[in-house]
Amino acid sequence: MIKQPAEWQLLLYIAGQTPKSIKALSNIKKYAEIHLEGKYSIEIIDLLESPQLAEGDQILAVPTLVRRFPEPIRKIIGDLSNEERVLVGLNIKPIK
């Protein structure tokens, strides 16, 4: 295994183009650019289009950001407006 994961796989579950989901998307893009430059991928899943995917990742709330890789799976719900908590949640930044 490589010491530092080469790639961060992030999934953002949304339900239509709501203000919250747009906000969440722009937030995560912003944080990822700063902290994970070049090492990440973000996939957006619109549950309105593919509702069957909600069960797999145990999605209840939207928007939900799921860190698929590296393991373990982490979930962050909400519009990701609190940068600190997002970074802690994604385990990018250790808790101070």
Binding site: I59, L60, V62, I76, G78, D79, R85, V86
Partner: protein, 579 residues
């Protein structure tokens, strides 16, 4: 008379019936629950297209009730269902309900049921900022649409509160969810843990207010009983009492404490008591079919024997009989009855008789009732014997036993089953019944009491009829003896101070025999005397006759002499004198 009234009643019911469709126009649309007895209490089921809240403490059957609602919906009413579990993974759930005969996997494969396990793991989730539960809505919507579900269960949605921090959002979203469910037109069950001050921990009753049912699990004197109560039901009448319910291998069944109406069929057919002589104490010659008979008495007064006689008689007539023995094992009962010439084994072999022996404390009253209910359904007996019902009091208190017996009697009456109960009562001097009897005596149709009659160093058994609804009966206390040939009712023996029993009867009988013998000899002597007198008389008559005859003869001789004399005189008279 009875028949006449009965018919009248029936036509009365029929008259009402045609107006029912009109009523139904206004009646509240309901979804049958598929839970035995619950439809009866809710007057048809849960509100159709609305959410119903079921709350209760741990282990009182919330999940099971809702699962049964879904599965019965699929199997009995072909309404597909969605089970959204927040507590148990779907695999566990399948396994748990499999023991109740519900095969979730099969239903899932047939696309009739969706089980969706929503896992809310606090440690995995971080909350930042605004969110909503649209994901849950989408999942539910997807599940509902995929099987075209009409019934939805959310088992225990309150788990969300443990997983998510933002209560304000949660509450708003839950409110939205229930609205959404209503709009979707599905009949939903939402379960909730019972809270301390509120019905549910998170006050779900604020949101779901169409129908609220509370389940309860109480232990009273080491016997647990589950109870169900409808707290509210908008737009419908419902039973307001607490109803005991049971969980057994067939799922949940609720037992309404009292059936609302007393309109069971009545029969004028008579069944023999089986005890020789006892039939004649009833004007009709036995019990009415479908009536309840109570045999009460102190210990050792042959209550069980009389019950067995009845069972034997019914079996002989090929009537299916169930004997509940709470004191003796079947083997013991058979052996004991053999000693007085009753062969119960033969009936068991033929499949006419079933003996169910169990200690009353084996299970709660409700389970006893349920066993009976099941037997009635499966075995279809026409006669049921409970020996003795007074033992049940050890399981519950007076009220519970009474209410159980009311339900039992209702059930038996509804099925037109002749039932015989025995009841052991305490030895007391007066004739007043004790509590055990009193609690059922008003419920039964016929009450026979067997009692000890003690006196001058011996104990005798007497039997009498306390009451017999709709039939005249003897007022006598009849003595009976049990010998190797069985029960024998003795003829009434009157003494100077009333009815005699036992040794008094014997001495009285002896006295009577002596008297009779003396009388006979007196009579014989008198007869002989008369005979002799007659003979004397006859002799006298003969003597007089002889005397008379000799007088007659003498008179005859005199007459003849006279005639001869006069003849000679005429002949000797000279003829010249005439010229």
């Amino acid at each position: 008379m009875f028949n006449y009234f009965h018919k009248k009643n029936q036509t009365g019911v029929r008259k009402i019936k045609p107006s029912k469709p009109q009523d139904e126009k206004f009646s509240f649309p309901k979804t049958p629950t598929g839970v035995e007895g619950l439809d009866e209490i809710t007057d048809g089921g849960f509100p159709k297209g609305r959410p119903t809240l079921i709350c209760g403490g741990a282990g009182c059957g919330k999940t099971l009730l809702s699962m049964q609602f879904l599965i019965k919906g699929i199997t009995d009413f072909s309404e597909h269902g969605v089970f959204m579990s927040f507590e148990e993974p779907s695999k566990d759930l399948s396994l748990n309900v499999k023991s109740l005969g519900f095969d979730l996997d099969k239903l899932k494969a047939e696309k009739k049921l969706v089980v969706d396990y929503v896992r809310v793991e606090r440690s995995e989730i971080e909350e930042t900022g605004e969110y909503d539960l649209e994901g849950l809505f989408i999942r539910l919507n997807h599940a509902i649409d995929s099987v075209n579900a009409k019934r939805v269960v959310l088992d225990t949605i309150e788990s969300l509160f443990a997983g998510l921090d933002n209560q304000a959002i949660l509450r708003a979203e839950l409110r939205r969810l229930f609205h959404w469910l209503k709009e979707k037109g599905v009949t939903a069950i939402i379960t909730g843990e019972r809270g301390e001050a509120t019905l549910t921990r998170q006050g779900l009753e604020e949101y779901v207010s169409d129908c609220v049912i509370i389940l309860d699990h109480r232990v009273i004197e080491q016997v647990s009983t589950r109870r169900l109560r409808i707290i509210k039901y908008r737009g419908s009448t419902h039973g307001t009492n607490e109803y005991p319910f049971l969980i057994d291998e067939d799922g949940i069944s609720v037992l309404p404490i009292t059936s609302l109406k007393l309109n069971n069929e009545v029969s004028s057919e008579l069944v023999s008591t089986g005890v020789p002589g006892l039939d004649t104490m009833f004007v009709g010659g036995g019990f009415y079919r479908g009536s309840n008979i109570l045999i009460s008495g102190t210990a050792g007064t042959a209550k069980t024997t009389i019950a067995c006689y009845f069972a034997n008689e019914q079996c002989k007539k090929h009537e299916k009989t169930v004997f509940f023995a709470f004191e003796e094992s079947p083997q013991q009962l058979i052996r004991n009855m053999k000693s007085i010439g009753i062969d119960l084994e033969k009936h068991i072999d033929k499949g006419l008789l079933q003996i169910h022996a169990s200690r009353p404390s084996l299970n709660g009253l409700e389970l006893h009732l349920l066993t009976l209910r099941k037997l009635i359904k499966d075995f279809k007996p026409t006669t049921v014997i409970l020996d003795p019902i007074s033992n049940l009091i050890t399981v519950g208190n007076e009220n519970e036993v009474r209410s159980m017996l009311v339900r039992l009697i209702d059930m038996l009456k509804a099925n037109n089953i002749t039932a015989l109960f025995t009841s052991l009562n305490k030895q007391n001097d007066n004739l007043r019944p004790d509590l055990a009897e009193e609690s059922v005596s008003s419920l039964v149709d016929t009450w026979i009491t067997v009692r000890d009659m003690e006196g001058i160093g011996e104990r005798n058994r007497g039997i009498f009829i306390v009451k017999s609804r709709g039939m005249g009966h003897s007022n006598q206390v009849r003595e009976f003896v049990i010998g190797s040939k069985g029960i024998e009712l003795l003829d009434v023996e009157f003494g100077p101070e009333g009815i005699l029993t036992g040794a008094a009867r014997k001495s009285n009988q002896l006295q009577r025999t002596v008297k009779a013998m003396k009388l006979q000899s007196d009579l014989d002597r008198k007869d002989r005397e008369i005979d002799r007198k007659r003979k004397v008389l006859e002799a006298n008559i003969a003597a007089l006759k002889n005397e008379f005859e000799s007088v007659v003869e003498e008179l005859g001789i005199l007459k003849a002499t006279e005639d001869l004399h006069s003849k000679i005189m005429i002949e000797n008279t000279p003829k010249t004198k005439k010229k």
